[in-house]
Protein backbone atom coordinates (compact mmCIF):
# COMPACT_ATOMS: atom_id res chain seq x y z
CA UNK A 1 0.00 0.00 0.00
CA UNK A 2 1.30 3.39 -0.97
CA UNK A 3 1.62 6.12 1.60
CA UNK A 4 -0.77 9.00 1.07
CA UNK A 5 1.33 11.87 -0.15
CA UNK A 6 -1.40 14.27 -1.12
CA UNK A 7 -0.34 17.84 -1.01
CA UNK A 8 -2.40 20.39 0.80
CA UNK A 9 -2.76 23.85 -0.66
CA UNK A 10 -5.42 26.21 0.56
CA UNK A 11 -7.29 23.30 2.12
CA UNK A 12 -7.56 21.54 -1.25
CA UNK A 13 -5.81 18.32 -2.11
CA UNK A 14 -3.22 18.87 -4.80
CA UNK A 15 -1.56 16.55 -7.28
CA UNK A 16 2.22 16.99 -7.58
CA UNK A 17 2.25 16.90 -11.40
CA UNK A 18 -0.10 19.89 -11.53
CA UNK A 19 2.01 21.78 -8.97
CA UNK A 20 5.15 21.16 -11.04
CA UNK A 21 3.49 22.22 -14.30
CA UNK A 22 2.32 25.49 -12.75
CA UNK A 23 5.74 26.19 -11.26
CA UNK A 24 7.41 25.54 -14.61
CA UNK A 25 4.97 27.82 -16.41
CA UNK A 26 5.67 30.61 -13.91
CA UNK A 27 9.47 30.31 -13.83
CA UNK A 28 10.24 28.89 -17.29
CA UNK A 29 11.99 25.86 -15.83
CA UNK A 30 12.29 24.00 -12.53
CA UNK A 31 15.48 25.47 -11.10
CA UNK A 32 17.11 24.24 -7.93
CA UNK A 33 15.65 27.14 -5.96
CA UNK A 34 12.13 26.51 -7.30
CA UNK A 35 12.40 22.81 -6.42
CA UNK A 36 13.72 23.67 -2.95
CA UNK A 37 10.68 25.87 -2.36
CA UNK A 38 8.27 23.11 -3.48
CA UNK A 39 10.20 20.61 -1.39
CA UNK A 40 9.84 22.59 1.81
CA UNK A 41 6.30 23.79 1.12
CA UNK A 42 4.99 20.25 0.62
CA UNK A 43 7.50 18.38 2.81
CA UNK A 44 8.80 16.23 -0.05
CA UNK A 45 12.51 15.32 0.20
CA UNK A 46 14.39 17.23 -2.49
CA UNK A 47 16.05 14.03 -3.77
CA UNK A 48 12.67 12.42 -4.32
CA UNK A 49 11.30 15.54 -5.98
CA UNK A 50 14.30 15.73 -8.32
CA UNK A 51 13.84 12.05 -9.18
CA UNK A 52 10.21 12.68 -10.12
CA UNK A 53 11.03 15.76 -12.20
CA UNK A 54 13.79 13.97 -14.13
CA UNK A 55 11.47 11.08 -14.99
CA UNK A 56 9.15 13.22 -17.12
CA UNK A 57 10.43 14.57 -20.42
CA UNK A 58 8.24 17.68 -20.25
CA UNK A 59 9.84 18.98 -17.06
CA UNK A 60 13.08 20.90 -17.45
CA UNK A 61 15.73 21.61 -14.84
CA UNK A 62 17.75 23.88 -17.14
CA UNK A 63 16.75 27.23 -18.68
CA UNK A 64 14.81 26.72 -21.92
CA UNK A 65 14.61 28.60 -25.16
CA UNK A 66 11.77 31.05 -25.67
CA UNK A 67 10.17 28.58 -28.07
CA UNK A 68 10.05 24.87 -27.37
CA UNK A 69 9.77 22.63 -30.42
CA UNK A 70 8.86 18.96 -29.95
CA UNK A 71 9.12 17.15 -33.27
CA UNK A 72 7.10 13.95 -33.49
CA UNK A 73 8.99 10.72 -34.17
CA UNK A 74 6.02 8.35 -34.43
CA UNK A 75 5.93 5.82 -37.30
CA UNK A 76 3.04 7.76 -38.86
CA UNK A 77 5.18 10.90 -39.01
CA UNK A 78 8.28 8.94 -40.12
CA UNK A 79 6.26 7.45 -43.00
CA UNK A 80 5.28 10.98 -43.98
CA UNK A 81 8.72 12.52 -44.31
CA UNK A 82 9.16 13.25 -40.58
CA UNK A 83 12.86 12.39 -40.53
CA UNK A 84 13.80 15.03 -43.09
CA UNK A 85 11.97 17.63 -41.01
CA UNK A 86 13.96 16.63 -37.95
CA UNK A 87 17.17 16.92 -39.94
CA UNK A 88 16.12 20.30 -41.29
CA UNK A 89 15.40 21.63 -37.79
CA UNK A 90 18.74 20.39 -36.48
CA UNK A 91 20.70 22.04 -39.29
CA UNK A 92 18.63 25.23 -39.39
CA UNK A 93 18.85 25.77 -35.62
CA UNK A 94 22.39 24.32 -35.45
CA UNK A 95 21.55 22.26 -32.35
CA UNK A 96 20.99 18.63 -31.50
CA UNK A 97 17.86 17.12 -29.96
CA UNK A 98 17.65 18.24 -26.33
CA UNK A 99 19.66 21.44 -26.85
CA UNK A 100 18.89 25.16 -26.83
CA UNK A 101 20.13 27.68 -29.40
CA UNK A 102 22.79 30.20 -28.33
CA UNK A 103 20.38 33.10 -28.74
CA UNK A 104 18.03 31.26 -26.34
CA UNK A 105 15.25 31.44 -28.93
CA UNK A 106 14.67 27.72 -29.51
CA UNK A 107 14.88 24.43 -27.64
CA UNK A 108 14.48 21.27 -29.69
CA UNK A 109 13.06 17.96 -28.50
CA UNK A 110 11.81 14.78 -30.09
CA UNK A 111 8.62 13.17 -28.82
CA UNK A 112 7.23 9.68 -29.26
CA UNK A 113 3.81 10.64 -30.62
CA UNK A 114 1.63 13.69 -30.19
CA UNK A 115 -1.58 12.07 -31.45
CA UNK A 116 -1.66 14.08 -34.67
CA UNK A 117 -1.01 11.03 -36.88
CA UNK A 118 -3.99 11.99 -39.07
CA UNK A 119 -2.24 15.26 -39.90
CA UNK A 120 1.32 13.96 -40.12
CA UNK A 121 4.03 15.08 -40.06
CA UNK A 122 3.52 17.14 -36.95
CA UNK A 123 5.20 18.85 -34.03
CA UNK A 124 4.30 20.78 -30.92
CA UNK A 125 5.38 24.41 -30.83
CA UNK A 126 5.04 25.69 -27.28
CA UNK A 127 2.60 22.84 -26.59
CA UNK A 128 0.38 23.67 -29.57
CA UNK A 129 0.23 21.29 -32.52
CA UNK A 130 1.56 22.36 -35.93
CA UNK A 131 0.49 19.82 -38.52
CA UNK A 132 0.92 18.78 -42.19
CA UNK A 133 4.42 20.24 -41.97
CA UNK A 134 6.69 20.77 -44.93
CA UNK A 135 10.25 22.10 -44.98
CA UNK A 136 8.88 25.33 -46.42
CA UNK A 137 6.24 25.77 -43.75
CA UNK A 138 8.80 25.01 -41.04
CA UNK A 139 11.21 27.52 -42.55
CA UNK A 140 8.49 30.18 -42.53
CA UNK A 141 7.54 29.40 -38.91
CA UNK A 142 11.16 29.67 -37.72
CA UNK A 143 11.69 32.88 -39.67
CA UNK A 144 8.55 34.44 -38.20
CA UNK A 145 9.59 33.58 -34.67
CA UNK A 146 13.06 35.04 -35.28
CA UNK A 147 11.55 38.18 -36.76
CA UNK A 148 9.16 38.56 -33.83
CA UNK A 149 12.02 38.26 -31.37
CA UNK A 150 14.08 40.80 -33.33
CA UNK A 151 11.22 43.32 -33.38
CA UNK A 152 10.75 42.99 -29.65
CA UNK A 153 14.45 43.69 -29.08
CA UNK A 154 14.24 46.91 -31.07
Amino acid sequence: MSERTNLMEGGKDEILLNVLHRAQEKHGYLSESVLKKISSKYSIPIAKLYGVVKFYTMFHTEPQGKNIIEICGSPSCVLNNGISLEQFLKSELKIKIGETTQDKLFSLYKTSCIGCCDEAPAMLLNRKPCTRLTIDSLKATIENLRKEAGEKKE
Binding site: M1, S2, E3, R4, T5, N6, L7, I15, L16, L17, N18, L20, H21, I44, G51, V52, F55, Y56, T57, M58, F59, E70, G73, S74, P75, S76, V78, L79, N80, T111, S112, C113, I114, G115, C116, C117, D118, E119, A120, L124, R127, K128, P129
Partner: protein, 373 residues
Amino acid sequence: MQILRKTNLKALAKAHALGQEGVIALIERKGLEGRGGAAFPTGKKWRTCHDTQADERFVVCNADEGEPGTFKDKFIILNNPKTMIEGILIAAYAIGAKRCFIYLRGEYEFLRPKLQRQVKSMLKRAKTDVTIEIVRGAGAYICGESTALLQSLQGNRGTAMSKPPNPTRNGLWGKPTMINNVETLTCAAQAVLFDNWKPEVRLFSLSGNIQNPGVYEFPIGVKMSKVIKAANPKRKLKAVSFGCFGGIMPVDENMAITPETLMMEKCHHGAYSIIFADETNNVVDLSLSIAKFYTYESCGKCTPCREGTVRMLNLLRKIHSGEGSREDLPILCELANHIQETALCGLGQTCGNHVLTSILHFPQDYEAYFSKK
Protein backbone atom coordinates in the same frame (compact mmCIF):
# COMPACT_ATOMS: atom_id res chain seq x y z
CA MET B 1 -21.13 7.73 -35.76
CA GLN B 2 -22.24 5.88 -32.66
CA ILE B 3 -19.48 7.49 -30.57
CA LEU B 4 -20.84 10.97 -31.30
CA ARG B 5 -24.31 10.28 -29.86
CA LYS B 6 -25.01 12.66 -26.98
CA THR B 7 -26.52 11.45 -23.72
CA ASN B 8 -27.39 14.89 -22.24
CA LEU B 9 -27.37 13.66 -18.62
CA LYS B 10 -30.21 11.25 -19.41
CA ALA B 11 -27.84 8.29 -19.02
CA LEU B 12 -26.85 9.50 -15.55
CA ALA B 13 -30.52 9.88 -14.58
CA LYS B 14 -31.21 6.35 -15.84
CA ALA B 15 -28.24 5.03 -13.85
CA HIS B 16 -29.61 6.65 -10.70
CA ALA B 17 -32.97 5.02 -11.36
CA LEU B 18 -31.37 1.59 -11.90
CA GLY B 19 -29.30 1.76 -8.73
CA GLN B 20 -25.64 0.80 -8.36
CA GLU B 21 -26.23 -2.93 -8.80
CA GLY B 22 -28.59 -2.30 -11.71
CA VAL B 23 -26.17 -0.14 -13.67
CA ILE B 24 -23.25 -2.54 -13.16
CA ALA B 25 -25.44 -5.43 -14.32
CA LEU B 26 -26.50 -3.42 -17.36
CA ILE B 27 -22.89 -2.68 -18.34
CA GLU B 28 -22.09 -6.39 -17.97
CA ARG B 29 -25.08 -7.36 -20.08
CA LYS B 30 -24.23 -4.88 -22.84
CA GLY B 31 -20.82 -6.51 -23.26
CA LEU B 32 -18.71 -3.38 -22.99
CA GLU B 33 -14.97 -4.08 -23.09
CA GLY B 34 -12.11 -1.73 -22.26
CA ARG B 35 -11.15 0.33 -25.30
CA GLY B 36 -7.64 1.25 -24.20
CA GLY B 37 -6.21 -1.86 -25.84
CA ALA B 38 -6.52 -4.66 -23.28
CA ALA B 39 -10.27 -5.36 -23.86
CA PHE B 40 -10.97 -6.27 -20.23
CA PRO B 41 -14.73 -6.61 -19.51
CA THR B 42 -15.75 -3.21 -18.10
CA GLY B 43 -18.66 -4.52 -16.01
CA LYS B 44 -16.35 -6.97 -14.26
CA LYS B 45 -13.95 -4.16 -13.39
CA TRP B 46 -16.80 -2.03 -12.04
CA ARG B 47 -18.15 -4.92 -9.97
CA THR B 48 -14.77 -5.77 -8.39
CA CYS B 49 -14.25 -2.16 -7.47
CA HIS B 50 -17.76 -1.87 -6.04
CA ASP B 51 -17.50 -5.11 -4.06
CA THR B 52 -14.13 -4.34 -2.46
CA GLN B 53 -14.58 -3.13 1.12
CA ALA B 54 -13.29 0.44 1.52
CA ASP B 55 -14.20 3.81 2.97
CA GLU B 56 -13.17 5.64 -0.18
CA ARG B 57 -12.98 4.81 -3.89
CA PHE B 58 -11.70 6.64 -6.96
CA VAL B 59 -12.41 6.81 -10.68
CA VAL B 60 -9.66 7.70 -13.14
CA CYS B 61 -10.42 8.50 -16.76
CA ASN B 62 -7.30 7.45 -18.63
CA ALA B 63 -6.68 10.13 -21.26
CA ASP B 64 -2.97 9.33 -21.54
CA GLU B 65 -3.40 8.20 -25.12
CA GLY B 66 0.22 7.63 -26.05
CA GLU B 67 0.28 4.63 -28.37
CA PRO B 68 1.78 5.88 -31.63
CA GLY B 69 -0.83 5.95 -34.37
CA THR B 70 -3.69 6.38 -31.90
CA PHE B 71 -5.77 9.55 -31.76
CA LYS B 72 -9.34 8.37 -31.14
CA ASP B 73 -9.47 9.66 -27.55
CA LYS B 74 -8.43 13.10 -28.78
CA PHE B 75 -11.30 12.83 -31.29
CA ILE B 76 -13.75 12.13 -28.44
CA ILE B 77 -12.41 14.89 -26.19
CA LEU B 78 -12.77 17.29 -29.13
CA ASN B 79 -16.16 16.10 -30.37
CA ASN B 80 -18.15 14.53 -27.53
CA PRO B 81 -16.51 15.47 -24.22
CA LYS B 82 -19.75 15.88 -22.31
CA THR B 83 -20.77 12.28 -22.88
CA MET B 84 -17.33 11.18 -21.68
CA ILE B 85 -17.74 13.30 -18.52
CA GLU B 86 -21.20 11.78 -18.02
CA GLY B 87 -19.57 8.35 -18.29
CA ILE B 88 -17.19 9.33 -15.48
CA LEU B 89 -20.15 10.39 -13.31
CA ILE B 90 -21.98 7.11 -14.03
CA ALA B 91 -18.87 5.10 -13.13
CA ALA B 92 -18.46 7.14 -9.93
CA TYR B 93 -22.07 6.48 -9.01
CA ALA B 94 -21.83 2.75 -9.82
CA ILE B 95 -18.87 2.14 -7.54
CA GLY B 96 -19.56 4.85 -4.98
CA ALA B 97 -16.68 7.25 -5.69
CA LYS B 98 -16.69 10.94 -4.84
CA ARG B 99 -13.35 11.98 -6.28
CA CYS B 100 -12.51 11.44 -9.95
CA PHE B 101 -9.53 12.32 -12.12
CA ILE B 102 -8.92 12.78 -15.80
CA TYR B 103 -5.26 11.94 -16.47
CA LEU B 104 -4.66 14.00 -19.61
CA ARG B 105 -1.37 13.43 -21.41
CA GLY B 106 0.96 16.42 -21.52
CA GLU B 107 0.94 16.38 -25.32
CA TYR B 108 -2.81 17.17 -25.20
CA GLU B 109 -2.30 20.31 -23.11
CA PHE B 110 -4.02 22.30 -25.87
CA LEU B 111 -7.24 20.39 -25.15
CA ARG B 112 -7.21 21.19 -21.43
CA PRO B 113 -8.70 24.71 -21.11
CA LYS B 114 -11.89 23.77 -22.99
CA LEU B 115 -12.16 20.41 -21.25
CA GLN B 116 -11.82 22.14 -17.88
CA ARG B 117 -14.75 24.43 -18.70
CA GLN B 118 -16.85 21.50 -19.85
CA VAL B 119 -16.14 19.55 -16.67
CA LYS B 120 -17.18 22.55 -14.60
CA SER B 121 -20.40 23.05 -16.53
CA MET B 122 -21.31 19.34 -16.44
CA LEU B 123 -20.76 19.09 -12.68
CA LYS B 124 -22.98 22.12 -12.19
CA ARG B 125 -25.71 20.78 -14.46
CA ALA B 126 -25.60 17.34 -12.82
CA LYS B 127 -25.97 18.94 -9.37
CA THR B 128 -23.52 16.46 -7.91
CA ASP B 129 -21.01 16.55 -5.07
CA VAL B 130 -18.62 14.38 -7.10
CA THR B 131 -15.42 16.19 -8.12
CA ILE B 132 -13.44 15.70 -11.35
CA GLU B 133 -9.85 17.00 -11.46
CA ILE B 134 -7.74 17.15 -14.58
CA VAL B 135 -4.22 15.88 -13.93
CA ARG B 136 -1.64 16.99 -16.48
CA GLY B 137 0.70 14.27 -17.65
CA ALA B 138 4.24 15.26 -18.55
CA GLY B 139 5.34 13.19 -21.52
CA ALA B 140 5.71 9.60 -20.31
CA TYR B 141 4.07 6.92 -22.47
CA ILE B 142 4.27 4.37 -19.67
CA CYS B 143 1.79 6.40 -17.59
CA GLY B 144 -1.02 5.03 -19.77
CA GLU B 145 -0.34 1.69 -18.06
CA SER B 146 -2.58 1.48 -15.01
CA THR B 147 -0.03 0.87 -12.24
CA ALA B 148 2.34 3.50 -13.64
CA LEU B 149 -0.53 5.95 -13.96
CA LEU B 150 -1.36 5.49 -10.28
CA GLN B 151 2.27 6.05 -9.29
CA SER B 152 2.26 9.22 -11.35
CA LEU B 153 -1.00 10.45 -9.78
CA GLN B 154 0.46 9.87 -6.33
CA GLY B 155 3.40 12.15 -7.09
CA ASN B 156 5.97 9.47 -7.84
CA ARG B 157 8.04 8.52 -10.87
CA GLY B 158 5.64 6.86 -13.30
CA THR B 159 7.11 3.38 -13.15
CA ALA B 160 5.08 0.19 -13.58
CA MET B 161 4.43 -2.01 -10.54
CA SER B 162 3.82 -5.73 -10.41
CA LYS B 163 0.23 -6.97 -10.29
CA PRO B 164 -1.54 -8.14 -8.15
CA PRO B 165 -2.72 -6.19 -6.33
CA ASN B 166 -4.90 -4.83 -9.09
CA PRO B 167 -5.87 -1.16 -8.91
CA THR B 168 -9.57 -2.14 -8.70
CA ARG B 169 -8.86 -3.55 -5.22
CA ASN B 170 -5.78 -1.61 -4.17
CA GLY B 171 -5.15 1.53 -6.18
CA LEU B 172 -4.73 5.21 -5.34
CA TRP B 173 -3.52 5.54 -1.75
CA GLY B 174 -4.42 1.88 -1.25
CA LYS B 175 -8.09 2.40 -2.10
CA PRO B 176 -10.12 0.66 -4.83
CA THR B 177 -9.60 2.66 -8.02
CA MET B 178 -11.30 2.18 -11.33
CA ILE B 179 -9.25 3.21 -14.33
CA ASN B 180 -11.18 3.37 -17.58
CA ASN B 181 -10.18 4.70 -20.97
CA VAL B 182 -11.82 7.79 -22.54
CA GLU B 183 -13.64 5.72 -25.18
CA THR B 184 -14.76 3.13 -22.61
CA LEU B 185 -16.38 5.75 -20.37
CA THR B 186 -18.03 7.48 -23.33
CA CYS B 187 -19.41 4.12 -24.46
CA ALA B 188 -20.55 3.37 -20.91
CA ALA B 189 -22.83 6.41 -20.93
CA GLN B 190 -24.16 5.48 -24.37
CA ALA B 191 -24.61 1.80 -23.45
CA VAL B 192 -26.65 2.77 -20.39
CA LEU B 193 -28.99 5.04 -22.33
CA PHE B 194 -29.42 3.58 -25.81
CA ASP B 195 -31.13 0.22 -26.34
CA ASN B 196 -29.62 -0.10 -29.82
CA TRP B 197 -26.03 0.60 -28.71
CA LYS B 198 -23.70 -1.86 -30.47
CA PRO B 199 -20.70 -3.25 -28.56
CA GLU B 200 -18.95 -4.49 -31.71
CA VAL B 201 -18.57 -1.01 -33.21
CA ARG B 202 -15.03 0.24 -32.68
CA LEU B 203 -13.09 3.39 -33.40
CA PHE B 204 -10.19 2.87 -35.79
CA SER B 205 -7.35 5.39 -36.01
CA LEU B 206 -5.98 5.21 -39.56
CA SER B 207 -2.70 6.86 -40.52
CA GLY B 208 0.50 6.39 -42.51
CA ASN B 209 0.85 6.37 -46.31
CA ILE B 210 -2.81 7.08 -46.99
CA GLN B 211 -4.77 10.02 -48.34
CA ASN B 212 -7.71 9.94 -45.91
CA PRO B 213 -6.23 9.47 -42.46
CA GLY B 214 -8.57 9.94 -39.52
CA VAL B 215 -10.87 8.30 -37.00
CA TYR B 216 -13.39 5.85 -38.46
CA GLU B 217 -16.02 3.55 -37.03
CA PHE B 218 -16.12 -0.09 -38.15
CA PRO B 219 -17.56 -3.21 -36.58
CA ILE B 220 -15.15 -5.91 -35.43
CA GLY B 221 -14.91 -8.38 -38.31
CA VAL B 222 -14.76 -5.65 -40.95
CA LYS B 223 -12.92 -6.67 -44.12
CA MET B 224 -9.48 -5.16 -44.52
CA SER B 225 -10.47 -4.14 -48.07
CA LYS B 226 -13.22 -1.90 -46.68
CA VAL B 227 -10.81 -0.21 -44.27
CA ILE B 228 -8.29 0.30 -47.07
CA LYS B 229 -10.98 1.81 -49.29
CA ALA B 230 -11.76 4.36 -46.58
CA ALA B 231 -8.05 5.04 -46.03
CA ASN B 232 -7.51 5.66 -49.75
CA PRO B 233 -3.82 4.91 -50.29
CA LYS B 234 -2.01 6.63 -53.13
CA ARG B 235 0.26 3.66 -53.90
CA LYS B 236 0.03 -0.06 -53.39
CA LEU B 237 0.12 -0.93 -49.68
CA LYS B 238 2.65 -3.33 -48.28
CA ALA B 239 2.29 -3.57 -44.52
CA VAL B 240 0.06 -2.59 -41.62
CA SER B 241 1.32 -1.93 -38.12
CA PHE B 242 -1.15 -2.06 -35.24
CA GLY B 243 0.13 0.91 -33.30
CA CYS B 244 3.62 0.10 -32.06
CA PHE B 245 2.88 -2.86 -29.84
CA GLY B 246 0.41 -4.81 -31.99
CA GLY B 247 2.89 -6.09 -34.56
CA ILE B 248 3.39 -5.65 -38.31
CA MET B 249 1.78 -7.83 -40.97
CA PRO B 250 1.29 -7.87 -44.74
CA VAL B 251 -1.84 -6.30 -46.18
CA ASP B 252 -4.42 -9.02 -46.74
CA GLU B 253 -7.47 -7.45 -48.37
CA ASN B 254 -9.66 -10.47 -47.72
CA MET B 255 -8.95 -10.73 -44.04
CA ALA B 256 -11.75 -9.94 -41.60
CA ILE B 257 -10.25 -7.88 -38.76
CA THR B 258 -10.98 -9.67 -35.49
CA PRO B 259 -8.81 -10.37 -32.44
CA GLU B 260 -8.66 -14.03 -33.54
CA THR B 261 -7.63 -13.48 -37.17
CA LEU B 262 -4.93 -11.05 -36.05
CA MET B 263 -3.73 -13.56 -33.47
CA MET B 264 -3.21 -16.04 -36.33
CA GLU B 265 -0.71 -13.55 -37.79
CA LYS B 266 0.87 -13.05 -34.32
CA CYS B 267 -0.60 -9.55 -34.19
CA HIS B 268 -2.80 -7.78 -31.64
CA HIS B 269 -5.60 -5.30 -32.36
CA GLY B 270 -4.81 -3.04 -29.37
CA ALA B 271 -6.86 0.12 -29.72
CA TYR B 272 -7.45 -0.56 -33.44
CA SER B 273 -4.79 1.90 -34.58
CA ILE B 274 -3.64 0.97 -38.05
CA ILE B 275 -0.53 2.53 -39.55
CA PHE B 276 -0.28 1.77 -43.28
CA ALA B 277 3.06 1.54 -45.04
CA ASP B 278 3.15 1.44 -48.83
CA GLU B 279 5.41 -0.51 -51.18
CA THR B 280 8.08 2.19 -51.20
CA ASN B 281 9.00 1.28 -47.61
CA ASN B 282 11.28 -1.35 -46.17
CA VAL B 283 9.65 -2.83 -43.06
CA VAL B 284 13.01 -2.86 -41.26
CA ASP B 285 12.90 0.97 -41.29
CA LEU B 286 9.47 0.87 -39.68
CA SER B 287 10.66 -1.63 -37.11
CA LEU B 288 13.66 0.59 -36.37
CA SER B 289 11.45 3.61 -35.64
CA ILE B 290 9.33 1.44 -33.31
CA ALA B 291 12.45 0.14 -31.54
CA LYS B 292 13.58 3.74 -30.95
CA PHE B 293 10.19 4.45 -29.41
CA TYR B 294 10.45 1.57 -26.92
CA THR B 295 14.01 2.39 -25.92
CA TYR B 296 12.97 5.96 -25.27
CA GLU B 297 9.79 5.10 -23.36
CA SER B 298 10.89 2.15 -21.23
CA CYS B 299 10.44 3.33 -17.64
CA GLY B 300 13.65 1.62 -16.55
CA LYS B 301 12.15 -0.27 -13.66
CA CYS B 302 12.72 -3.86 -14.82
CA THR B 303 15.97 -5.05 -16.35
CA PRO B 304 14.64 -7.09 -19.33
CA CYS B 305 12.84 -4.07 -20.77
CA ARG B 306 15.40 -1.40 -19.81
CA GLU B 307 18.36 -3.31 -21.23
CA GLY B 308 16.58 -5.45 -23.80
CA THR B 309 14.99 -2.59 -25.72
CA VAL B 310 18.45 -1.02 -26.16
CA ARG B 311 19.93 -4.31 -27.39
CA MET B 312 17.09 -4.80 -29.88
CA LEU B 313 17.58 -1.25 -31.15
CA ASN B 314 21.35 -1.73 -31.50
CA LEU B 315 20.88 -4.91 -33.51
CA LEU B 316 18.31 -3.27 -35.77
CA ARG B 317 20.66 -0.31 -36.27
CA LYS B 318 23.45 -2.70 -37.19
CA ILE B 319 21.21 -4.40 -39.77
CA HIS B 320 19.94 -1.05 -41.03
CA SER B 321 23.48 0.23 -41.56
CA GLY B 322 24.25 -2.81 -43.73
CA GLU B 323 26.57 -4.36 -41.15
CA GLY B 324 24.14 -7.08 -40.09
CA SER B 325 23.90 -10.69 -41.13
CA ARG B 326 21.41 -13.55 -41.12
CA GLU B 327 22.86 -14.70 -37.80
CA ASP B 328 21.46 -11.58 -36.13
CA LEU B 329 17.84 -12.63 -36.69
CA PRO B 330 17.68 -15.57 -34.25
CA ILE B 331 19.41 -13.37 -31.64
CA LEU B 332 16.82 -10.65 -32.20
CA CYS B 333 13.98 -13.17 -31.85
CA GLU B 334 15.48 -14.68 -28.72
CA LEU B 335 15.87 -11.24 -27.20
CA ALA B 336 12.31 -10.25 -28.08
CA ASN B 337 10.85 -13.47 -26.68
CA HIS B 338 12.93 -13.24 -23.53
CA ILE B 339 11.84 -9.67 -22.79
CA GLN B 340 8.20 -10.51 -23.45
CA GLU B 341 8.32 -13.43 -21.06
CA THR B 342 10.07 -11.66 -18.22
CA ALA B 343 9.10 -7.96 -18.33
CA LEU B 344 6.94 -6.49 -15.62
CA CYS B 345 4.21 -4.65 -17.50
CA GLY B 346 2.31 -4.44 -20.75
CA LEU B 347 4.93 -2.22 -22.39
CA GLY B 348 7.76 -4.70 -21.87
CA GLN B 349 5.60 -7.71 -22.60
CA THR B 350 4.75 -6.39 -26.06
CA CYS B 351 7.86 -4.39 -26.99
CA GLY B 352 9.27 -7.19 -29.16
CA ASN B 353 6.12 -7.80 -31.21
CA HIS B 354 7.27 -5.58 -34.06
CA VAL B 355 10.57 -7.46 -34.29
CA LEU B 356 9.02 -10.93 -34.18
CA THR B 357 6.27 -10.13 -36.69
CA SER B 358 8.48 -8.21 -39.10
CA ILE B 359 10.99 -11.09 -39.20
CA LEU B 360 8.12 -13.59 -39.59
CA HIS B 361 6.26 -11.76 -42.34
CA PHE B 362 8.95 -9.74 -44.12
CA PRO B 363 12.20 -11.77 -44.19
CA GLN B 364 12.86 -10.38 -47.68
CA ASP B 365 13.12 -6.85 -46.26
CA TYR B 366 15.85 -7.98 -43.89
CA GLU B 367 17.52 -9.83 -46.77
CA ALA B 368 17.61 -6.59 -48.71
CA TYR B 369 19.82 -5.07 -46.00
CA PHE B 370 22.03 -8.16 -45.73
CA SER B 371 22.70 -8.14 -49.46
CA LYS B 372 23.79 -4.50 -49.32
CA LYS B 373 26.92 -5.65 -47.58
